[in-house]
Structure formats: structure tokens, C-alpha cells
């Protein structure tokens, strides 16, 4: 392992691997000729500071390389042992762990969740009774996404599972695909309930250890053990800069794993081998196949069609998304959070796996451009300049966004002022699911705080609508509207999009101590 840590360049990587390099590795080099230069060029185009890439083929690592730097403004290069967040690629670990419990007869995919977590409750009694483990793992619950239950709230996993009962239905039960991190948190808590161990220990003992994923962990708090780690980056005010790691501890079963491309290559080989790694079986072929089988259909957008040649079907399995790509089945997942984006893609018919980890957040589709390049190389259909095609799509999306912002600006009514003096908008605002919001006057401006962490300044827009400029600039701006009752008192704050409408429940008074939340 220490030898691998020294690898700087891909071609050397193959040479260094020496004994591990199978005879076909020479052929792979041929197939992958030009990849190196392509990645480097594309990284400039996309302004991605650091990237690590691994390719496994026929149960061997055939390519592994780091590119660029771990943090802008430093000379610390990314190599194949650099630790990145893999975010939602974690979901497949949760699903695989569940499959192990299925093998042991401790759960069945179609067990009702309430049989294992009696406190689990969703918006409707009948649905509560019917929800199965299969539903938790396949994004078909029909409730709102609700990421701000966990993002920046400090709620524990148990508290999050409790709060799921307040999430509102947005589609019929099992009628549509609706991505839900909260259901994966629930699945993780179900694993904990069944095993008597926390989810993190299950993943470590049952997956990391047997696969030899020695540079992988389930919490950002463990990153201090790894000096060789990538810093997350976001473009803020036109400048690409490092941002802090986000703790995903409360959302862990949906996205908290940190890993390296070498470790993830082991994971990819294990998945492609149907649950076996170097002669040792960790999960039955059947249980793993169930995680790779489609459960919930995903609508295919025009953009997806453009960027996924030969796609006719897209679906979610358990912790994996799957589709057809040029006549083959592609099993994959992306991951993303503040300052980081990643991708794993498996093509079982070609016994091929690709892992791409990057340390840039928004405005980054580079990892998928590289995925397509590699897949096409193995399918012998190269010819698309995927980086350029993805870049064009992103530019179009940015133009759309700009148009939308212009439209919003145009619709702004000038010469209005708030109905009330600013101090009368202050107060404690509450929502059953999302907790406590606080609007206060700070230096003459309204400031909104939701939970312990999310904070934004409210600038007057028109009438009783304010524009919130978030401290986490990458959350984007948002228009929020206060509602007054007949007596002229503020009663509600409508936050479109991610949050529901908060009720104003009290004036602000100075308080210390007491429980963390009301």
C-alpha cells in the first residue's frame, strides 16, 4: 500500500502495481490512451482544483491516478490516497449492509418498517403501516425531500427519524420518484436497531475492514487522521475558494463516507464480482443483485437524453441508480455536498467500474464527462468531446438561471416599503418539522436564523417580501414573504422551495439555558 501512495502519474501507477497488473493492462493503456491529457485539459475548462480517478476492469485495478491539488493556493497534489467525501455514494453501502442482514434472516426487503422501528411514522396512518424497507431504499415514499431537516440543524439521527412524520406528501405513495435522504437515515437507524450497533460500526466492520478500505471513514471528524485529504471548494463572488467540510453525521447513512479512489476501486470490484472480494463472499449474490435491480422508475429529462447516449430506461434500485447506456446496463451513483462532487459507475456486462472524486462543488459536471469518456473508450465508441458537451449544458443552465433572475428583477415593484416597522417582523418562527427560526434586527437589518447554523440577511425587496442572502452563499438567494393578519400582525413567514411556511409564535425575549430546542 505504501508503494501506491507514492504514485503520481497514471502510467507509472500501472508499472508500480507490477504484480497486480494483469496481462490485459497493456491493452487497457491502449484503450485509455489520451485519457490523461483529456482529464487535465477538462480540469482547466471546468476549473476543478483536484480530482482522483480509478478504473477497474475484470476484477483488476487498471488505472488509478490523482490530478491537480488538494487545495487551491497550495502545492499539495492529489494522489490515489487522497481522501474525499463520497457523499450519496454512501447509500449503496447502507443498502449492501441491509442485504447482509437479509442474508442472515434478520430482516426481509419487504418487512414493514414499523416492525423494526415502532416509532416510525409518516403523514398518513395507512402509509405508515405499509412502508417497507424496500420503500426506504428506493425513493418512492412521495414525501417532500426535506433536506433541511438534517442540513445545518444539529438534529440527531433519532430525532430526524422522529421528524419524518411532519414531512408533507408531494406525490402519491409510490407513485413517483422522489429523492429522500431522510429515508436512508431511517434505513440506517433500522440497521442499528436490528444489529444493536450503530450504522457507522456496521459499515466499518462489515464492509471497510473485509474490503481493506483502510483510508475510509464515516465522519468528517475522522478526517484529522488523514493528512492527505482534499479540501472542498466553491466559487464564491467569482473566486474559487476552500470551504469547510460539512459534517454529515446526522445524515450519515445517506451520505457521510469519506474515501479514496483506491479504496473505492475495491468497493467497485466487490460490487462487480457479485458480492465477493478476493475469494471472500460478504453478501449473497441474490441479495446484492436485488440492490442492483430497478425498483422505482425515474423520468428521463431532455438533458439526460443528450448526455446519456442510448438511454431508454432510468430507475433507482437500492442505493443505486441504473439505466441503459449504449445498450448496456449502467449501475451508478453520484455524490455531492458543499465543495465536493463524485461519481461511481459500474457496467457489469463489461466488468468495468469507474470512480471519480473531485473537490469542487457547484458548477461541476466534469466527473460525468470523464465517466462517459471512459465508458465510451471501453465500448469502442469514442468520438464525443464529453467535457465540451457537458460544459455546453452547464452554460445553458446558467443562462436559464440568469434569465430567471432577470425575470425576478423585472417583476420587482419599485417604490414600495414594508407594511410595518422592521422590529415588528422580528420574532420566533416555528415549523413542526424544521424546528425553530428566529428573525431579529441586527445592525438595522433583519436577520433570519434557522436552527443553530443557517443564517441569512434579509434585504427588503417589495411590499412584505424580503430577499435572503445566505451566509452559505452557495445556497443561493431566496425571496421570503411575511404574511399579516387582519389586525396587522405578522403571523407567517413563507419561505418558498426548500422550507415550508413558518408560523410566528412569539416575540423575542432574552433567554439563556433550557433545552436546545422548544
Amino acid at each position: 500500500m505504501s508503494g501506491l501512495a507514492l504514485m503520481g502519474r497514471g502510467l507509472f501507477a500501472l508499472a508500480t502495481l507490477g504484480v497486480a497488473a494483469p496481462p490485459q493492462a497493456v491493452g487497457q493503456q491502449g484503450r485509455l490512451a489520451g485519457l490523461d491529457a483529456y482529464v487535465e485539459r477538462a480540469m482547466v475548462a471546468w476549473q476543478v482544483p483536484g480530482l482522483a480517478l480509478a478504473i477497474v476492469k475484470d476484477d483488476s485495478l487498471v488505472y488509478a491516478k490523482g490530478y491537480g491539488v488538494r487545495e487551491v493556493g497550495t502545492q499539495k497534489s492529489v494522489d490515489t490516497n487522497t481522501v474525499f467525501g463520497i457523499m450519496s455514494m454512501t447509500k449503496a453501502f447502507t443498502a449492501t449492509a441491509m442485504g447482509m442482514l437479509v442474508d442472515e434472516g434478520r430482516v426481509r426487503w419487504d418487512d414493514r418498517v414499523i416492525d423494526h422501528l415502532p416509532g416510525f411514522y409518516v403523514y398518513n396512518d395507512w402509509v405508515t403501516r405499509e412502508v417497507t424497507i424496500r420503500d426506504l431504499l428506493s425513493h418512492r415514499m412521495g414525501v417532500e425531500r426535506g433536506d433541511f431537516l438534517w442540513f445545518g440543524t444539529g438534529f440527531t439521527r433519532d430525532e430526524l427519524v422522529h421528524h419524518i412524520r411532519y414531512l408533507r406528501p408531494v406525490a402519491g405513495f409510490r407513485a413517483a420518484y422522489g429523492y429522500s435522504n431522510n429515508m436512508f437515515i431511517t434505513a440506517g437507524q433500522l440497521i442499528a436497531a436490528v444489529t444493536g450497533m450503530n450504522w457507522d460500526d456496521v459499515i466499518r466492520k462489515r464492509i471497510f475492514e473485509p474490503l481493506g478500505m483502510t483510508s475510509s471513514c464515516t465522519s468528517v471528524w475522522e478526517l484529522s487522521h488523514f493528512e492527505n485529504r482534499a479540501s472542498p471548494h466553491e466559487e464564491l463572488n467569482g473566486m474559487l475558494q476552500p470551504v469547510p467540510y460539512r459534517s454529515l453525521d446526522n445524515e450519515a447513512p445517506g451520505g457521510s463516507i469519506n474515501s479514496t479512489v483506491l479504496d473505492m476501486a475495491r468497493w467497485a470490484r466487490f460490487q462487480l464480482a457479485g458480492g465477493e472480494f478476493e475469494g471472500r463472499r460478504l453478501i449473497s449474490r441474490e441479495a446484492l443483485a436485488e440492490t442492483h435491480a430497478p425498483q422505482t422508475l425515474i423520468p428521463i429529462s431532455e438533458t439526460t437524453r443528450r448526455l446519456s447516449p442510448g438511454i431508454h430506461f432510468s430507475a433507482y434500485g437500492f442505493g443505486w441508480q441504473m439505466q441503459d447506456y449504449r445498450g448496456r446496463k449502467l449501475i451508478q451513483h453520484s455524490g455531492g455536498i458543499d465543495g465536493q462532487r463524485s461519481r461511481i459507475a459500474l457496467m457489469p456486462e463489461e466488468n468495468l467500474g469507474v470512480v471519480i472524486l473531485t473537490n469542487r462543488g457547484r458548477q461541476n459536471m466534469l466527473y460525468d464527462a470523464i465517466r462517459n469518456w471512459v465508458l465510451d473508450a471501453y465500448l469502442e465508441t469514442s468520438g464525443n468531446d464529453w467535457s465540451a458537451e457537458f460544459l455546453a449544458v452547464m452554460r445553458e443552465q446558467e443562462a436559464e438561471g440568469a434569465k430567471e433572475r432577470e425575470r425576478t428583477e423585472r417583476e420587482r415593484v419599485s417604490g414600495t416599503s414594508p407594511s410595518l416597522s422592521l422590529d415588528r417582523y422580528t420574532g420566533l418562527y416555528l415549523d413542526s418539522a424544521y424546528g425553530k427560526g428566529r428573525v431579529s434586527l441586527q445592525d438595522g437589518a433583519l436577520v433570519i436564523e434557522i436552527g443553530p447554523e443557517i443564517r441569512g440577511v434579509m434585504e427588503h425587496w417589495h411590499f412584505d417580501t424580503f430577499r435572503i442572502v445566505w451566509d452559505y452563499a452557495y445556497l443561493g438567494d431566496m425571496l421570503a414573504t411575511f404574511r399579516l393578519d387582519a389586525a396587522g400582525r405578522v403571523v407567517e413567514l413563507e419561505l418558498p422551495g426548500w422550507w415550508p411556511t413558518f408560523r410566528r409564535v412569539a416575540d423575542l425575549v432574552p433567554v439563556v439555558g433550557g433545552p436546545r430546542r422548544p
Binding site: W126, E130, T132, L297, H312, A315, G327
Partner: protein, 513 residues
């Protein structure tokens, strides 16, 4: 357009690797001989096949006889029952109403049929028209006994479905459901004020020039080119009567010819347009060809179609990927009539196969042979493959029957004298059935068509031998009577249907203890 280019390129790739494949997409050589061989190998009396490509009819031909023992030959205009291929018409009918803004796919069914009710109140409230058309109600393939050969009306069949306990949780998995398609037809009635039949005729058949196509076996009498259904009885093929499907029509009652079906195929492949006239919007065509539920792929399907990764159902259409293309299709089957419709939109290819003899796969052998040829991929010996599957299925059925015979306990007799089994039996879902004693034997009767002679099997189990010709082909239906603690018959479980409870004879007044 780009899409097509990519696909074309892919097929080129395959071509370059396999020299034996034909060099251009076309009808396979010797198709006539192939179909005739399939017909003979499968012992099918008559087959009609048509192919459309790039909005043109490129093949339409009949093989064999319309009816065994009569000289008239099947041609491309011969009418057959298309069975469940009717489902796509029902979905298109709803699509027309969606285009007109009179309803939407996601309307709740109870908004249109306020009396509609399923087993669970929540499901009753939530179920949508989309659910009706995509086999995801959770009821599974059950409830067919309520319409098949019964006297119930369409509405009665749908009304009774409330008694059917779901066999999987709502929308959790696919379960083929004819009664839900019937309900979709009733939604059409409710929205348009005319019957489903009139609507399909005036809004689909007429604009497509399908003037001889109809929605009832009762309409067949006036046509002089109609295929008769056939069924093998211990290996001997015989003519059987048409099964009337009026009470489940939107799920399967259409009769048509391959000639007229090609108009329908061209309309679907033409994104809703046929001969310059628009029948459906392209968005409706896309919608019916967009998957709503996953169908699990068994080992047999995987073996037959290694390039298939997804098997799903849209709205009245099965949707799969095959050799990198989307294939939309359906099979149809009712007493003595088997059919298959297949579309490969990226190739603008459509194939329809209609047959008039019960069989497990002659249509498959023909369809995939033609599709492979147009895709330019190396074909397989589909006829041999499906014949082998058929043999295996027949062997399995024979084995099952052998085991059943083996499991029969000899030298038992019914617990009670036959007269004690006589009575009326009732089931909320399936209605009333009587058992009477006639000439020293028990006879069961349900609706007009179900008359069965109950032959003693063992203990209190009898086997009903149906007098209806097409039903008489099978091994019969097991009737197991149950006795209460008082030693009297309390009910009977009918194999494959449900338990019917004996209706107590009213006791004479004053005898109550």
C-alpha cells in the same frame, strides 16, 4: 435525429463483428417459408402477419385456414380477436381525452366514478387513472373469474372488485389487472357520455380507416372473413366458440385484421399521426410509452433475451430494451386466439401477428425473427427456442397433473351423503353458486356458462368437469367442501377463485333454541 444516428452506429458496430448478419435492415429472406414452418410446428390453424417500416406497409399475409375443416384461407384481411392488445386502445382513448383537456392521467378515479371502491379506503381515494392503466393497483392477476364467462355487466364487475383483498401493497409491484382496464373504460364512458365501444369506434377506428374492426364478438356475424378460434384437446385441435368479452371489453374485446392493425401501428410509430391526420398528440404517445412500473425479469427471460435490462409497463404497453432499442409491445390471449403487437420506434418498425389457435409462442417465434432482421443483429433460432420452452411448459403441466393424481388418496368417500352438499354458496366478490344433485351426481352452476359435473376426488374434494367446450380442455377445477363442527357443510373452496360460504337455509319459525 441524433438519437437515431447513435443507434444506427451501434448496429453497425455489431455488424462489423458478426459477418453472418444481414447487411441492411430488411425483411428476412424466406419469411413466408419461415412462418409456414412455425405454423406447422406449432400446429396452429391460421396465422396472419403484417410488418410496417418507415410508415409503409411492407408485408401483410395470411397462412393456413380460418377454420379447420373448411376451405377458406386466412388472408391479411381476416378478422381475429386481438385480446389484450385492446388495452393500448383504451389507453389511447384516455389519451384523446387528455389531449382535449377533459381529464388527466393523474386524475383520481373516484373523481370520475364516485362509486368506485377498492379494498382499502386509502387506496380507493388515491388510485389514479394512470394506476388503472399500468397494473400497479396491488390486486395482482385476480378477479378474472368475475368477468370470464359470467353474466355480470361491466359496472357490476367493477363494483365487486371492492371485495378483493390486495395481494401486494399498493403500487409496490406489478400485477396484471384486467378489471382495472375495464374501470378505465368506464372512466371513458363517464367523461364522454358515450360507451367505450362507440368512443373507440368513432375516435380511433374511423379516423384510422379500421372500418371492419369492432369491439364485440356479436359484431362478427356480419363479416364474411373471420377466423374461428381453435384449441387442442389432448393433442387434437378442434374449433371452439368465440368467447364473448363484452363485460370486460376495454381490457380485451377488440377484433381486427393485420391489415387494419397496421394503420394503428403506423399511428403509434408516427407519434400520433396517420396518413396526415393527427389522432393523438406526440406527448400522449410518449406518455403511453413511458414506464410506470417495473416487471421483474425471470431467469427464462434473461436467458432468451441477454441484451434486455429493463422490463416495464407503460399505459397499455409493455416496454423493454432489446439490443439497445426500446421495444413497446403486448400479447393478447383469449380462448383460441393469441396475438402479439410489437413496435421498435427508433427503427420505425411495427410487427403484428394474429393466430387462431391456443399456443404458447408461435407469435414470439415470428416477431423476434422479423425484429432481428430489421435491427441487423445476428438472430437466434427463435422457433426452436420457443418450441423448447413450450415443451418444457407442457412437461411441467403433465408432471403437475401426474403429481396431482399421485396425491389422490384412494378408497375415500365423501363425509356426507351427496344431498348434504346441495345448496347455495355465496361469495361477496364472485356472487352466488349452486350445487344440486342430478341423476345421483352433484352439479355446480355459476352464471349461465359455468356448469360443472362434480366428480368425487377424495375426502370432501370434488373435481368440476366443465361442460363448456373450451373450459373442458383442462384437468377440471377442484372444489373442496368444508364441514362445520355440527357436521354440516359450511362452504366450498373453488380452486383458483376463492371460498364460497353456504347460505343457511332459513329455519322454520319457532325451532330456534
Amino acid at each position: 435525429m441524433k438519437y437515431r444516428r447513435v443507434v444506427g452506429w451501434l448496429s453497425m458496430l455489431v455488424l462489423s463483428l458478426v459477418a453472418v448478419a444481414p447487411l441492411s435492415a430488411q425483411l428476412p429472406d424466406g419469411l413466408d417459408d419461415y412462418i409456414e414452418k412455425v405454423r406447422t410446428d406449432w400446429n396452429v390453424v391460421g396465422i396472419a402477419v403484417a410488418v410496417v417500416k418507415d410508415d409503409s406497409l411492407v408485408y401483410a399475409k395470411g397462412f393456413g385456414l380460418r377454420e379447420l375443416g373448411k376451405p377458406e384461407r386466412v388472408d391479411e384481411h381476416t378478422l381475429f380477436a386481438i385480446g389484450s392488445n385492446s388495452k393500448a386502445f383504451t389507453a389511447a382513448g384516455i389519451g384523446i381525452l387528455v389531449d382535449e383537456g377533459r381529464m388527466s392521467w393523474d386524475d383520481r378515479v373516484v373523481e370520475h366514478l364516485p362509486w368506485f371502491q377498492l379494498y382499502d379506503p386509502y387506496v380507493t381515494r388515491e388510485i389514479t387513472v394512470r394506476d388503472l392503466l399500468s397494473h400497479r393497483s396491488g390486486l395482482g392477476r385476480r378477479g378474472d373469474a368475475n368477468w370470464y364467462a359470467t353474466d355480470f355487466s361491466r359496472e357490476e364487475v367493477v363494483r365487486r372488485i371492492r371485495h378483493l383483498e390486495p395481494n401486494s401493497s399498493f403500487r409496490s409491484r406489478a400485477g396484471y389487472q384486467n378489471t382495472m382496464f375495464l374501470a378505465a373504460g368506464l372512466v371513458t364512458d363517464a367523461v364522454t357520455g358515450v360507451t367505450w365501444d362507440e368512443f373507440i369506434k368513432s375516435r380511433i377506428f374511423q379516423p384510422l380507416g379500421m372500418s371492419r374492426s369492432n369491439t364485440s364478438t356479436l359484431d362478427l356475424a356480419s363479416d364474411d372473413n373471420v377466423a374461428s378460434p381453435h384449441q387442442p384437446f389432448d393433442g387434437t385441435v378442434k374449433v371452439i366458440p368465440y368467447r364473448n368479452l363484452d363485460n370486460v371489453a376495454p381490457a380485451g374485446s377488440i377484433n381486427s385484421s393485420v391489415w387494419e392493425m397496421t394503420h394503428w401501428l403506423r399511428a403509434m410509430l408516427g407519434e400520433g399521426e396517420f396518413a396526415g391526420e393527427r389522432l393523438l398528440s406526440d406527448s400522449v404517445v410518449r406518455e403511453v410509452h413511458t414506464p410506470n412500473i417495473i416487471y421483474p425479469m425471470g431467469p427464462q427471460t434473461r436467458k432468451l433475451f441477454p441484451s434486455m435490462h429493463f422490463s416495464t409497463y407503460g399505459l397499455g404497453w409493455g416496454l423493454r430494451d432489446y439490443q439497445g432499442r426500446l421495444v413497446a409491445g403486448h400479447t393478447g390471449g383469449i380462448d383460441g386466439m393469441l396475438s402479439q403487437v410489437t413496435l421498435v420506434p427508433e427503427e420505425e418498425l411495427g410487427v403484428v401477428v394474429l393466430t387462431n389457435t391456443s399456443n404458447r409462442g408461435s407469435f414470439n417465434a415470428i416477431t423476434w425473427y422479423i425484429v432481428d432482421s430489421y435491427l441487423g443483429v445476428p438472430t437466434r433460432d427463435w422457433n426452436a427456442l420457443f418450441l423448447q420452452l413450450n415443451q418444457e411448459a407442457e412437461k411441467a403441466a403433465a408432471e403437475q397433473q401426474r403429481k396431482r393424481e399421485e396425491g389422490r388418496v384412494k378408497a375415500t368417500s365423501p363425509s356426507l351423503p351427496l344431498s348434504e352438499y346441495v345448496g347455495t354458496y355465496d361469495n361477496d366478490m364472485y356472487g352466488t353458486m349452486t350445487v344440486s344433485e342430478e341423476d345421483g351426481k352433484l352439479v355446480c352452476r355459476r352464471h349461465t356458462a359455468f356448469v360443472g359435473d362434480l366428480e368425487h376426488w377424495h375426502y370432501d374434494t370434488f373435481v368440476a368437469k366443465w361442460r363448456d367446450l373450451s373450459m373442458s380442455a383442462g384437468p377440471g377445477t377442484e372444489f373442496t367442501f368444508t364441514l362445520g363442527s355440527n357436521g354440516k357443510v359450511t362452504g366450498v373452496t373453488v380452486q383458483g377463485v376463492d371460498e364460497f360460504m353456504r347460505v343457511e337455509k332459513p329455519e322454520p319459525e319457532g325451532t330456534e333454541q
